[in-house]
């Protein structure tokens, strides 16, 4: 299967993992391994940047797994840029999962601040992966602003509700020149498979794995779901093409020998 490329870097796994909500750092680390992911996000607010011995940090660092700091908790573009700069210094990475959700209940992303921050961060040389609502026009704006991927939500974060934004995701995937990573709301491996079957380039999963009774097994199940969905996309699902009907009752007259051009 072809690999995913983001900002010039190849990823064999198309499953990205979030690291919140786990019952322990040990289970989180085992889940990361079981998922065979090559990119995990880490909320800047959850670890102490000044402490190299931070327990959370120690449990998310694996060879071959890119650490993607996220700005969860910031409410404005200005805060996001500041957070990104601190993260770049502390973690020595210019990659950032840009999350700006000033609304603390459904954690829905602010499109305006996200666009401003993307412009600013891209200018400063960051690889920006913005978390957004499934808004096709915003995706085009972010593409122009210098984002490296777009990360539209399937449904609100932590809702486990699946692809409630399916029609908008379809348009985004159709139009995007950037990799599309479906982020948030994927509650089961079948949801992840569905996103991949639609042609998403990758998915990001956290809650569904972290709160499962057996997170390690669930991480493995998501890995398989993502692979199955990707394979089905490449094999081209029969049911998904708008195939023509065998007879042509409306245009058949054109083939009638009596019909004159």
């Amino acid at each position: 299967m072809s690999d995913l490329m983001i900002a010039g870097e190849l990823f064999k796994s198309r499953l990205f993992l979030g690291t919140g909500k786990f019952c322990s750092n040990e289970i989180m680390a085992q889940s990361i391994k079981a998922s065979e992911t090559e990119m995990v996000t880490l909320a800047l607010k959850r670890f102490d940047m000044n402490n190299p011995e931070d327990s959370m940090l120690k449990h998310v660092e694996f060879p071959g797994v890119r650490l993607l700091p996220n700005s969860s908790g910031v409410r404005t573009a200005k805060e996001a840029v500041f957070a990104a700069q601190l993260a770049r210094e502390a973690l020595e990475t210019n990659w950032l999962k840009l999350e700006i959700h000033p609304e603390p209940r459904y954690l829905l992303p602010d499109p305006i601040e996200t666009l401003y921050a993307t412009e600013e961060l891209a200018k400063k040389g960051f690889i920006v992966l913005p978390y957004i609502n499934a808004d096709p026009v915003l995706c085009k704006r972010l593409q122009d602003a210098g984002a490296s991927v777009v990360m539209p939500l399937g449904s609100p974060i932590g809702s486990n509700s699946g692809l409630k934004t399916r029609e908008m995701l379809r348009i985004i995937i159709e139009q995007s020149t950037l990799p599309v990573v479906v982020d948030a709301g994927l509650g089961a491996p079948s949801h992840a498979a569905e996103a991949m079957e639609m042609g998403a380039d990758a998915v990001l999963v956290n809650t569904a794995i972290a709160v499962a009774d057996d997170p390690v097994k669930m991480a493995q199940a998501f890995k398989l779901g993502v692979e199955a969905g990707r394979m089905a996309f490449l094999a081209k699902l029969g049911g998904m093409t708008q195939s023509a009907v065998a007879s042509s009752p409306l245009t058949g007259f054109l083939n009638d020998p009596k019909h004159k051009n």
Binding site: F22, C23, K45, G73, P104, S159, V211
Partner: protein, 371 residues
């Protein structure tokens, strides 16, 4: 228009009777709307009729909380700065009529306390005072916040209600959260319990969360003092306050606490006591009403109760708390606000959380967010 105006349209007795009249079908309907209930559902969940559904409510609350907050518990610790107070609240250990040594910690003494608190692992801190504008007013709070800002990721206060501009000033210095409990939403009873002092102004207190919202505070903690008045009715008013504020101050986060009236020196016995079963019902009712609100439980409650409810809706716990100023460093028996019921250390509580398959979270904020 603030909650104060909306509150005028609500009648205590009417609400109380509506809750009492809820029947099993109302509770079932509320359970169907779990996570996204309305205020009518909240009445059903708090009603006597819901008592028969407690196990079902616990199952739903457990699932909702796990989905939204994961298998984690946020840890915090209170730091009592002052027990000096101009009020005479009948239920409080700090009431001015009480004897006992009064003290407001100096900055140096605060830093001594902080040293011990940091050693215990805490990164989210709650500063508490009585109400004494002269000794523990805004200038004092500003100085304390400035002195400790760099040492904590998240700072909350539970002090006298302030003006919007004063909140703005403290937020600028690094304040993240303000806890302000109405104690009771029964205006007449409120007067009885708060006979004099600044706290006797019911409306100024009721309007405080609106002032905080206008000051763009990150988080507001609501609650009532359970046991002062009919707890079902008071808890519903807290829910109505929450719903009102959430719609208007959409960037602000909310938490609810469950202070249950506990014995304190020279204070009154609760007139409307609630047992553990009933306190659990309140916790479950809020979670099923609103899946996103943080629910916080202090060391007022017993270890046994706390151990059991961390899986049932609670998201935030304090541990190792001392409720008198200087309690951590000096360990002297000074005037306490209330008696702590769970005296385990932070490490012991963290172990208990871990044993239940949950993770204690010590840091979940950055000092520069939202300032």
């Amino acid at each position: 228009m603030g909650y104060k105006n909306y509150f005028q349209s609500l009648d205590w007795e009417t609400v109380k009777n509506q809750i009492k009249d809820k029947k099993a079908p109302d509770v079932k309907e509320a359970l169907k709307n779990a996570g996204q209930g309305n205020l009518n559902d909240l009445m059903a969940l708090l009603s006597p009729a819901a008592e028969l559904f407690l196990e079902e409510m616990a199952q739903i609350s457990h699932q909702l909380t796990k989905k939204r907050f994961g298998k984690t518990i946020q840890m915090y610790i209170p730091l009592y700065l002052s027990n000096e107070c101009v009020n005479s609240c009948l239920y409080c250990g700090f009431r001015k009529e009480n004897g006992g040594k009064r003290i407001t910690l100096s900055i140096e003494e605060v830093l001594n306390e902080v040293e011990i608190i940091k050693r215990a692992g805490f990164d989210h801190l709650l500063l508490v005072t009585g109400e004494h504008p002269g000794k523990a007013g805004v200038d004092y709070l500003s100085a304390v916040i400035k002195a400790i800002r760099a040492l904590f990721s998240h700072i909350s206060i539970e002090v006298q209600p302030l003006e919007t501009t004063q909140y703005e000033e403290l937020i600028r210095l690094g304040l993240n959260t303000v806890l302000v409990y109405q104690e009771t939403y029964n205006r007449d009873q409120y007067k009885q319990f708060h006979p004099q002092g600044k706290k006797s102004d019911f409306d100024f207190r009721l309007d405080t969360p609106d002032r905080l919202g206008k000051a763009s505070i990150y988080k507001i903690g609501l609650g009532c003092l359970l046991g002062l008045e009919d707890w079902r009715t008071d808890s519903w008013f807290v829910g109505s306050h929450l719903r009102f504020l959430e719609k208007r101050y959409w960037k602000t986060k909310f938490s609810i606490s469950f202070p249950r009236l506990r014995p304190a020196m020279g204070s009154l016995e609760p007139e409307y006591p609630l047992n553990d079963r009933e306190l659990l019902q309140v916790i479950l009712a809020y979670r099923i009403f609103n899946e996103n609100v943080e629910l916080s439980l202090s060391t007022r409650e017993s270890r046994q109760f706390r151990d059991h409810v961390i899986k049932l809706g609670i998201t935030t716990l304090s541990a190792g708390s001392k409720t008198e100023p200087g309690g951590y460093a000096l360990n002297q028996d000074r005037l306490k606000q209330f008696e702590v019921h769970d005296e385990r250390s932070s490490i012991e509580v963290a172990r208990m959380i871990q044993a239940q398959g949950y993770e204690s979270v010590w840091k979940d904020w950055e000092a520069y967010y939202g300032i």
